[in-house]
């Protein structure tokens, strides 16, 4: 009996060790699920200052993460967390979030500002923030349905120079009034 047990245990033990060695590299879901504590399940944020990642393009996620990692984009926790991931990890996460459906937020917005923003967006921002901000050209992030407070924090960082604007964005944003910019943010936050 004892012999049998230990014999089996030995075999299984060996099997067990080899099974552990066989663990596959972290999958896209394994990597991305960890983000959801702050960014919401599958990247749909319920927190007004936290961006939704769902529906962002792979390019936008990769660009953001690389800039966080290098310090080019100002951050609180993201600059530190991005250092924990390899380029391959980041690409996998970008792939994962790009496959999630754009997260529609339910937030209180100013109707007049939305209308004003709507009238400004096509001519000023539409070349990169395409489809009313539901998509972005190349690594331009999707803005549709993002939380207004998140968009406002980002715009504040852009205007203060803390976050560097892409050249084409700077050309458009610089001459605009604060009221116009605010209206644009209300517009993008409203798009579902």
């Amino acid at each position: 009996m004892t012999m049998k047990w230990s014999g089996w245990a030995l075999t299984t033990g060996v099997l067990a060790i080899s099974a552990m060695a066989q663990a596959a590299p972290p999958s896209a879901t394994m990597l991305s699920y960890a983000c959801a504590g702050c960014h919401g399940t599958n990247g749909g944020s319920a927190g007004p200052s936290m961006p939704s990642l769902a529906g962002q393009s792979k390019e936008a996620i990769v660009d953001a993460m690389k800039k966080f990692k290098s310090g080019a984009r100002p951050a609180t926790v993201m600059g530190r967390l991005a250092k924990g991931y390899s380029d391959a990890d980041i690409a996998a996460m970008g792939e994962f979030f790009s496959k999630q459906k754009l997260h529609a937020t339910d937030q209180t917005l100013d109707k007049a500002k939305i209308a004003k923003g709507a009238s400004l967006q096509e001519a000023n921002c539409g070349r990169c923030h395409i489809e009313d901000g539901k998509e972005g050209k190349d690594d331009t992030p999707a803005m549709a349905s993002q939380w207004l407070p998140y968009l406002q924090i980002q715009m504040t960082d852009y205007l203060s120079g803390k976050r560097k604007m892409p050249e084409k964005m700077e050309e458009k944003v610089k001459p605009m009034s604060k009221a116009d910019l605010e209206a644009l943010l209300h517009f993008y936050a409203s798009v579902k």
């Binding site: 230990s6 099997l15 552990m20 319920a46 609180t76």
Partner: protein
């Protein structure tokens, strides 16, 4: 026989439950659905239940929790400091989670786990499982404090280390305290739930005293030789906001309490009196982990395989959150959330005879220093294959450079997101 059985389990070591072994519980063609049972509806358990269902809706999931709601420990210090009217924003229920993901939620007390028979005994009957997730949080080692009665002492000297009535009691005692009275916070030796928590609490209480109780101060009696977490930031915040209001005393282990005298004893020799005394007792894995034999040689915490969180002592039982020994990961709410997903991912893989995946987890934890400033600690965690232990990835484990108003704003969204993730 019992001994052999135990050796066998030990040899299995990291639980490892190969796909083949896991398969035993679910014979192909078996008419019965495969079952996962989760014990504990907190930061870990809710997420384990949800993510198993998200990844494989053919697995039946039952979540067993003794209460009909859960109150978050993270942010409860803000209530104690007077920044919240009540605990509503920290409280979740399970109905939406149950409906959205088809999780059977049972409000019951777990009384035993039969590891060999794969069943959980509760006040509402027996539940069979193929795999079990145990996420019971912490229990207190009150036997290490002389004079501490598990029932009556916390009513006089609250721990407020499990959020709910205890949190409210501590707040009420602070409000009722006469100006000039001292508040004692006693901190146990690490590891304990939420390493920066006691120091955040001291900050929040000092903030309240500064405004409402002239002449009062906080005395921290820390069993540890130094501040356990975010040290530089706490010291900076205390100097900035509460200079002279926080008397920090390291290496002062409270060994005895006297509720009649409202006093505590340090190492049996030094007596310190307080008008309000917050005893945070030393901790260990939740009660059920001890009953089920999931606790390791240290008699405190549960050893697990770092990739699957399967117990190294009992096959097919996984332990996550505060109760588990998760290497470098701190005992925090976010850790429990992240560990739950790692565990769920590999449970689903094993139950489907698929290859397990290397773990990748995160911790992000905020502490408030004042009404408007917070600081954070972060970390990305992976398993060091050679050591078979969870380690922080270089560069990712770090604290904020300074006190920050923006971090306080992000912290609020952290709470909103993590509680929404647990409850919907």
């Amino acid at each position: 026989m019992t001994l052999e059985r135990r050796n066998f389990l030990k040899l299995l070591g990291a639980g490892a439950a190969t796909a083949g072994l896991a398969g035993c519980a679910t014979q192909p063609g078996s008419p019965a659905a495969r079952k996962v049972v989760v014990i504990g509806g907190g930061y870990g358990g809710t997420i384990a239940a949800k993510y198993v269902r998200m990844m494989d809706p053919s697995i039946e999931v039952t979540l067993i929790e003794r209460n009909d709601h859960f109150v978050s420990c993270p942010f409860s210090n803000l209530y104690i400091g007077g920044l919240m009217k009540d605990l509503t924003s920290l409280t979740i229920k399970y109905d939406k989670l149950a409906a959205n993901y088809g999780i059977k939620v049972v409000q019951a007390e777990v009384t035993g786990i039969d590891a060999a028979g794969h069943s959980v005994t509760t006040s509402k009957g027996v539940f069979k499982y193929d795999r079990l997730v145990v996420s019971p949080g912490v229990e207190f080692r009150t036997d290490e404090i002389k004079g501490y009665d598990i029932a009556s002492t916390p009513e006089i000297m609250p721990h407020a280390w499990k959020a709910g009535p205890q949190t409210v009691l501590l707040r009420k005692q602070l409000e009722a305290m006469k100006p000039g009275g001292n508040v004692i916070i006693s901190i146990p030796l690490a590891p304990f739930r939420c390493p920066p928590g006691p120091y955040e609490r001291a900050s929040m209480i000092a903030m309240y005293l500064k405004q409402h109780k002239p002449g009062s101060k906080v005395i921290i009696l820390d069993a540890n030789p130094d501040i356990v977490s975010k040290k530089g930031l706490f010291l900076k915040g205390w100097k900035k906001h509460y200079d002279g209001l926080i008397d920090y005393r390291p290496a002062k282990k409270v060994t005895e309490v006297d509720t009649g005298k409202m006093a505590v004893m340090i190492e049996g020799i030094e007596e310190v009196k307080g008008a309000v005394i917050n005893i945070i007792p030393p901790q260990k894995a939740g009660h059920i982990a001890h009953v089920a034999g999931l606790v390791g040689a240290d008699k405190k915490w549960c050893p697990v395989n770092p990739t699957t969180f399967e117990s190294t002592l009992h096959k097919d039982i996984h332990v996550i959150g505060d109760s588990s020994i998760a290497g470098a990961m701190p005992k925090s709410g976010y850790s429990a959330n992240s560990e739950a997903k790692v565990c769920a991912t590999n449970i689903v893989a094993m139950m489907n005879g698929k290859e397990i995946t290397e773990m990748s987890a995160i911790n992000t934890c905020y502490s408030f220093l004042s009404a408007k400033e917070a600081v954070s600690v972060t970390g990305v965690y992976k398993v060091n294959a050679e050591k078979q232990a969870i380690e922080g990835v270089a560069g990712s484990v770090a604290v904020s450079p300074d006190l920050s108003e923006v971090e306080a704003i992000y912290a609020e969204s952290w709470l909103k997101n993590i509680l929404t993730e647990m409850s919907t």
